[in-house]
């Protein structure tokens, strides 16, 4: 595997190496020095829970309970690290793989699955979690995020004088998305408007089967140079570093200094989705290389080395994860399709002659079967 160009790991901010050794980096230390052992255990727990949920969802898909699943395996550190740096009144625009971030935003994880069970297109209440719905059209949400950030600025949520009350947007997307016109326009609009937004690129090395070399000749962080915004490359399998750079970026954006781009260099350890077959496009060796960089194992090694991961805590989290799995399984299986007529709901906010007419027709049509008793 060629590790040059966009695949090189040059200049990645790393605070925890793959063996769980803490690396000193005076530039980034200020952004993590307040973290306690409990905080770190919290990171570990979040990552562990996310992964447990993720595996459960994959297994539910295999059992036919879900139409599809999009695993985040291997990207837990990038997601939990960045997610834990987000606070009120920040607002998040995920793509479709940010289950870890969703967890940090208080979304009840099973709820993510209504979408993948084909019950609806959006699940949680975005406002309640400051976490927008997933967007499946690659990159489209990057512009919404930028506009939302512009509006936050206008609403006085940036550089308000009280840094603790300031907010910004974090927008997630993948390496593949960086090729989309929309994402490039988002960078431009954000730059020109000094919008308070952090573009968080999870470079998981693949857009489905295509390696990042199909999207770029140089590291993706350099997309930021094109529009003159600061950027940083971070070891996305290092939860501490991910946390640190996001803290920095958010502080920058919230202060009114404009957008930042973070490239989190990570690896999608699982398939693109449950429909995917990665053996067609990547090697076992490559997968093994990255298995040695597992983000959870890394933090675990650190915690163990420092005696910060007691057996009780582990057991507690394991139990919690198991309970989450069970609850997920039960919830998913219990969900029935809402009444058919609800498919006509919310097409418009106010009545629309055609929708009303079709709803009425469909209602009559359905009833005709019920009345005749001919409909299953």
């Amino acid at each position: 595997m060629d590790r040059h160009g966009p695949l090189s790991d040059d200049g990645l901010v790393t605070l925890l190496d793959r063996h769980g050794e803490r690396l000193a980096d005076p530039d980034w230390e200020p952004y993590v020095e307040h973290l306690t052992a409990e905080d770190l255990r919290g990171f570990w727990r979040d990552m562990t829970m996310t992964r447990a949920f993720d595996m459960e969802a994959t297994s539910l898909q295999r059992q036919g309970e879900l139409g599809l699943w999009v695993p985040a395996l291997g990207q837990e550190a990038a997601q939990i690290g960045s997610g834990r740096a987000i606070r009120e009144p920040d607002y998040v625009f995920p793509s479709y793989r940010e289950h870890g971030v969703a967890f940090t935003r208080g979304v009840d994880l099973p709820q993510i699955l209504t979408l993948f069970r084909g019950l609806e297109h959006g699940s949680w209440d975005p406002a309640a979690h400051s976490f927008h719905l997933y967007t499946l059209v690659i990159g489209a949400h990057s512009l919404h995020a930028t506009g939302y950030a512009m509006a936050m600025d206008r609403d006085g949520l940036v550089a308000s004088g009280n840094p603790d009350a300031d907010g910004a947007v974090v927008c997630y997307y993948g390496d593949g998305a960086t090729s989309q016109g929309d994402v490039n326009e988002a960078h431009i609009f954000a730059a020109v408007n000094d919008a308070p937004i952090v573009f968080f690129v999870q470079n998981n090395q693949f857009a489905i089967s295509e390696p990042t070399t199909r999207q770029a000749k140089v590291p993706l962080a350099r997309r930021a140079d094109g529009v003159g915004i600061p950027s940083v490359r971070v070891d996305g399998n290092d939860v501490l570093a991910s946390y640190a750079v996001t803290q920095w970026a958010l502080k920058h954006a919230r202060s009114g200094a404009g957008p930042v781009l973070i490239e989190a260099f990570t690896y999608r350890m699982g398939a693109h989705t449950t429909s995917d077959d990665p053996t067609r496009y990547r090697t076992r060796a490559d997968e093994e290389h990255w298995a040695q960089r597992d983000p959870i194992a890394r933090l675990e090694a650190y915690l163990l080395k420092h005696g910060e991961l007691s057996d009780e805590f582990r057991a507690e989290v394991e139990a919690e994860a198991k309970a989450l799995g069970k609850r997920t399984r039960e919830a998913v299986k219990s969900w029935e399709r809402p009444p058919l007529l609800t498919m006509f709901d919310h097409v418009y906010a106010e009545p629309h002659q055609q929708v009303e007419a079709e709803r009425a027709w469909f209602d009559r049509y359905q009833r005709s079967f019920t009345d005749e008793g001919a409909h299953a």
Binding site: D182, E185, Y348, Q353
Partner: protein
């Protein structure tokens, strides 16, 4: 005139200032935008060259001067970016009114409009409203170069979640732009650019009253009988309304009584009004500038043929553009539905 004024003001003393002014359609939209901006600080304008320049058609003239950079934003030259960021702003309660400089330049934003703007309310179970208005100077007839005369309505009317309206006179322009802005749904506001400089009286009071009430946007989707008649129903909207009215006039002089329906709204489409008229006259002609093939007229003809099947004395005829790209300006007079072609169709259905 006095009557309207009286009705609108709803008071007797002191004698109210007249709320009726003569305006061009461009002026009426400008005044409507201003009124909406004054009414609600969340109303913003976004687009290319809409600030100091006032837009290439001057529809936003003076608004930047009076409302400033924060309310009238010259954006980067990227339509997807404009619509996409407008969606984001609307999610925080803003009411962005986007100008697409010309019909032919809406397509870079097609993805944002079709997959995002149209579906946000649905996929969020109504939790997220995206009250974005997209103003588009559209259709032909002004001798412009390529991509500046496109009739785009059919390409958006098929998509659920969008409203599409097109005013045909200054009064409707003034009222409908405000109703569109205060509609909780996204609206494509199609401005027949060849009619920008047509003048008409505008009563500025009526819509104000409506916006104050609960029925703010209720009639935005309703067609209007622009002229009553008994022999033939002529259905038109926006750019072709003038030709339709002229055709009715000429036909009247030749003894054919033509009822003209101004659709005003394309989505929703007020079939109730169209079909009621069709049943009465038994003869229908639809006229639009867009290519006939798969145009909005197809839906109208199909539905009228279905729902007024036993009332029709003649097939529904359509008069529109051809299945070619919009040709060079020197051809447009003949490409577009001329008065002659409309009359020809009216004659043909009337003869049946």
């Amino acid at each position: 005139m006095t009557e309207t004024q009286h009705r609108a003001s709803g008071t007797t003393a002191p004698a109210p200032e007249s709320t009726i002014k003569t305006m061009t359609m461009a002026g009426a939209i400008n005044a409507g935008l201003r009124a909406a901006m004054e009414r609600d600080p969340k109303v913003l304008l976004m687009g290319e060259d809409i600030g100091a320049l006032g837009g290439v058609f001057r529809v936003t003239d003076g608004l930047h001067k009076d409302f400033g950079d924060a309310r009238v934003m010259d954006t980067p030259l990227a339509e997807s970016g404009i619509v996409g960021t407008a969606i984001g702003m609307s999610m925080r309660g803003y009411r962005p009114v986007v100008e697409i400089q010309f019909d032919g330049f809406i397509f870079p934003a097609f993805n944002q409009i079709t997959t995002q703007l149209a579906k946000m309310h649905y996929r969020s179970h109504g939790r997220i409203e995206v009250p974005v208005v997209i103003r588009v100077p559209f259709a032909g007839g002004i001798g412009a170069v390529e991509h500046h005369s496109e009739s785009i309505e059919a390409l958006f009317a098929h998509t659920a979640g969008l409203r599409l309206v097109s005013p045909a006179n200054p009064q409707d322009a003034y009222d409908m732009i405000q109703q569109s802005i205060f509609s909780p749904d996204p609206v494509l506001f199609l401005e027949p650019k060849a009619r920008y400089w047509d003048k008409g009286d505008v009563d500025t009071a009526a819509v104000r009253t409506r916006l104050d009430g609960a029925t703010a946007t209720a009639d935005l989707g309703r067609a209007r009988i622009a002229r009553t008649g008994s022999d033939v129903t002529l259905v038109a909207y926006g750019p072709t309304m003038r030709t339709a009215m002229q055709a009715a006039e000429v036909a009247a002089s030749e003894g054919t009584s033509v009822e003209v329906v101004d659709l005003r709204s394309i989505s929703p489409l007020d079939f109730t009004t169209v079909i009621r008229s069709a049943k009465r006259t038994g003869r229908v002609v639809v006229v639009h500038e867009a290519p006939t093939l798969h145009g909005v007229g197809a839906e109208i003809a199909a539905r009228v043929s279905e729902e007024a099947f036993y009332h029709l004395h003649a097939p529904v005829l359509r008069v529109g553009g051809f299945h070619t790209p919009y040709p060079g300006a020197k051809f447009e007079h003949d490409y577009l539905p001329t008065l002659d072609r409309v009359l020809d169709a009216v004659d043909r259905v009337a003869k049946h």
